[in-house]
Amino acid sequence: MLAAILTLTTLGLALGGLLGLAAHHLKVEDDPVVEQVAALLPGSQCGQCGYPGCAPAAAAIAAGEAAVSCCPPGGRALAEALAELLGVEADLSAVDDQPPRLAHIDEARCVGCTKCLKRCPTDAILGANNMIHAVFPEACTGCGLCAAVCPTEGIEMRPERPTPQTWYWPRPEVAAR
């Protein structure tokens, strides 16, 4: 009787101690979720989410401090991907209300200063000194950094317009269930 109690107690203490040591010494330093979130984010460091860059934003999203829909360039697709990764319910009303935006350069105002193209995180602006600049809509994430630095306020963020190639039927409005 006493032998059994002693054996089990020793065993329990020894294993418990071992687990404690392992927890302390073999601790995973980085949260792998942060890395996974960072891999999904656009990586353009635009700061529209309110964090200084994509890495701090990833940390905040993983910690649940920021909403999954906080990234305007990522839009709906990113919000859904993040919601699935983190297993949370995404509030998509915010991203649905705001269609993707694209930078548009007003050629009458552009003075060819190259400030915007130096700032563009995705190289979506083409231009040279004293030449009118232009935006590649395919590469523009709509982050708005260029509009902020334009000295003549010649860059406008316009909502992306559908073309016959991208248009599709809207959801039928159904009153009844």
């Binding site: 656009p42 990586g43 353009s44 460091q45 360039p73 990522g74 839009g75 709906r76 697709a77 990113l78 859904e80 991907a81 993707p100 995180p121 995705t122 190289d123 979506a124 395919e138 590469a139 523009c140 994430t141 559908p162 073309t163 016959p164 190639q165 991208t166 248009w167 599709y168 039927w169 809207p170 959801r171 039928p172 159904v174 009153a175 009844a176 269930r177």
Partner: protein, 502 residues
């Protein structure tokens, strides 16, 4: 080869059963007795750069330039694309965004031509005496250069389909003369009036594909067309006419192949996987014109019908003619609030603008009167299951719609959303008038838009990474250059010191 032998051995009227389908009132009598007449040359032609599936064409002409009839005005871009040709001689008056032939009414880059009335042909247009002496690949090249696309409405570049012989073992070409959509009679009239040319085009296509057998399938509500084709094809052993029962959607490529061969085309695969390629009779006619006469696709036959059209007709129309010109030619509209539809009433799309141009894929313009439209009062789904009975693809439309209504598009995709061919039988038969086809069209479009957004995000992310790598490299190069300059300066200084010490 065995499949072909099976096809030839069995009696010509043996048709394999199909799942689902509906029997809408065909209303073909409105226009079926009207022969194809040529439309007088309109005062202006608007040619959108995208009239086909694939990449948009790129303009080859400038504003103000004079063009000859049949002259290329836009070239194909990429493997799946098609060029455009001037439908008549005249002057390019604009290259600008104009309302497209599209349910959205959105604008598309369009080349506008003002005809000069001379109908002067381009000198490069040369007839070919014997297309059968040509190399099959060369035929496909000529068909591509002529801008021929699938004229049944799908507008897939015909030459791409003529090259399928290289990647698939083929044995049969099917000419799809089912024309199962109500109201439509232009294929019927073309087969009646130009049967010889349609058969010739089909034989040229069979030569290009390297197949031995041609089946011409015609629904049994078109006995005159079947008789004309039978007479024209009597000289050729390889051609068999098959009368298929009248049932919508018999004209769907994969369903027609199933009716003829008894084999089902796998999901998201081509009928070429079964050794069969399907083309429309109007496409065969266009191939005949492209090869025999050297003429590109610059006009097509289309049906103008519907209760709100004063004189329903079948017209031979230059591409780019405004829809309102066609309607005026047919005596105008008899009802003020007629609804314009491009294509048949089942799969056609509403046309918001009367000024939209006709395009390569437009086989009909319908003006539907009030009596021809569904009252449009949507009632709740009673789960009666009629949509399930009629779905030719074996889907459960009411379930798909429920998923889409709940916003779970992935759930709908898992239940076969992408296998839906969009025939509209479910919405047609629904006693509660649920807009089932629109739910499905919306979900397909939304999923495609999300896929585009994901693709763009991956691409811009790669761009952002490339940029930060480049900036990093520049910084590093600067640092290294600075260090090198410092080392040089230090060495020079040391050398000077040793010199002064000497």
């Amino acid at each position: 080869m065995t499949a072909l032998r099976q096809l030839l051995r069995r009696p010509a009227n043996r048709i394999h059963p199909l799942r689902g389908g509906v029997h809408p009132d065909d209303r073909k009598a409105l226009a079926a007795s009207a022969p194809i007449t040529e439309l007088p040359l309109p005062a202006r032609l608007d040619l959108p750069l995208q009239q086909h599936i694939g990449a948009s064409a790129a303009p080859l002409v400038r504003k103000g330039q004079r063009v000859a009839k049949g002259e290329p005005i836009a070239r194909a871009q990429g493997a799946i694309s098609a060029p455009l040709h001037a439908p008549t001689s005249g002057r390019v008056i604009a290259i600008a965004e104009r309302p497209a032939h599209h349910p959205s009414g959105l604008a598309m880059p369009t080349i506008s031509i003002e005809p000069d009335g001379e109908e002067r042909w381009h000198p490069a247009i040369t007839p070919c005496d014997d297309p059968f002496a040509l190399d099959p690949a060369h035929i496909a090249e000529r068909v591509a250069a002529a801008g021929v696309v699938g004229l049944g409405g799908a507008t897939f570049p015909a030459a791409v389909k003529l090259n399928l012989g290289a990647s698939h073992p083929l044995h049969t070409l099917v000419i799809n003369g089912a024309e199962c959509e109500p109201y439509l009679t232009c294929d019927d009239r073309l087969m009646r009036e130009r049967a010889e040319a349609v058969i010739d085009g089909a034989r040229i296509m069979a030569h290009a594909l390297g197949v031995g057998g041609i089946l011409v399938a015609i629904e049994d509500n078109k006995p005159e067309a079947a008789a004309a084709i039978e007479t024209a094809a009597a000289r050729f052993d390889a051609i068999t006419l098959i009368r298929v029962p009248t049932r919508y959607p018999m004209g769907s490529e994969r369903h027609l192949v199933q009716a003829l061969t008894g084999r089902e085309t796998p999901a998201r695969a081509l009928t070429a996987q079964l050794g069969v390629v399907v083309h429309n009779p109007a496409t065969a006619f266009a191939v005949h014109q492209a090869l025999r006469l050297g003429q590109p696709l610059i006009a097509r036959a289309l049906t103008l019908s519907g209760a709100a059209i004063a004189r329903p007709a079948n017209l031979w129309v230059p591409l780019g003619t405004a829809v309102e010109t066609l309607i005026a030619h047919c005596g105008g509209l008899t009802e003020d609030d007629a609804r314009l539809v491009s294509g048949g009433p089942m799969m056609g799309q509403p046309l918001p603008s009367h000024r939209a141009p006709t395009t390569k894929g437009c086989n009909a313009i319908l003006a539907l009167g009030a009596a021809e439209r569904a009252p449009g009062r949507t009632m709740p789904c009673t789960r009666c299951g009629r949509c399930v009975e009629v779905c030719p693809c074996g889907l459960v439309p009411l379930e798909l719609a429920a998923y889409i209504r709940a916003g779970d598009l992935e759930g709908a995709a898992e239940r076969g959303l992408h296998d839906c061919l969009g025939c509209g039988s479910c919405a047609y038969t629904c006693p509660s008038q649920q807009p089932l086809a629109q739910y499905i069209a919306h979900a397909k479009g939304e999923l495609a838009a999300r896929a585009r957004a994901r693709r763009k995000q991956a691409e811009t992310k790669a761009l952002a990474e490339q940029r930060s790598a480049r900036l990093e490299a520049i910084k590093r190069a600067k640092r290294e250059a600075m260090a090198r300059r410092k080392r040089e300066a230090a060495r020079k200084q040391a050398e000077q010191q040793t010199e002064t010490e000497h």
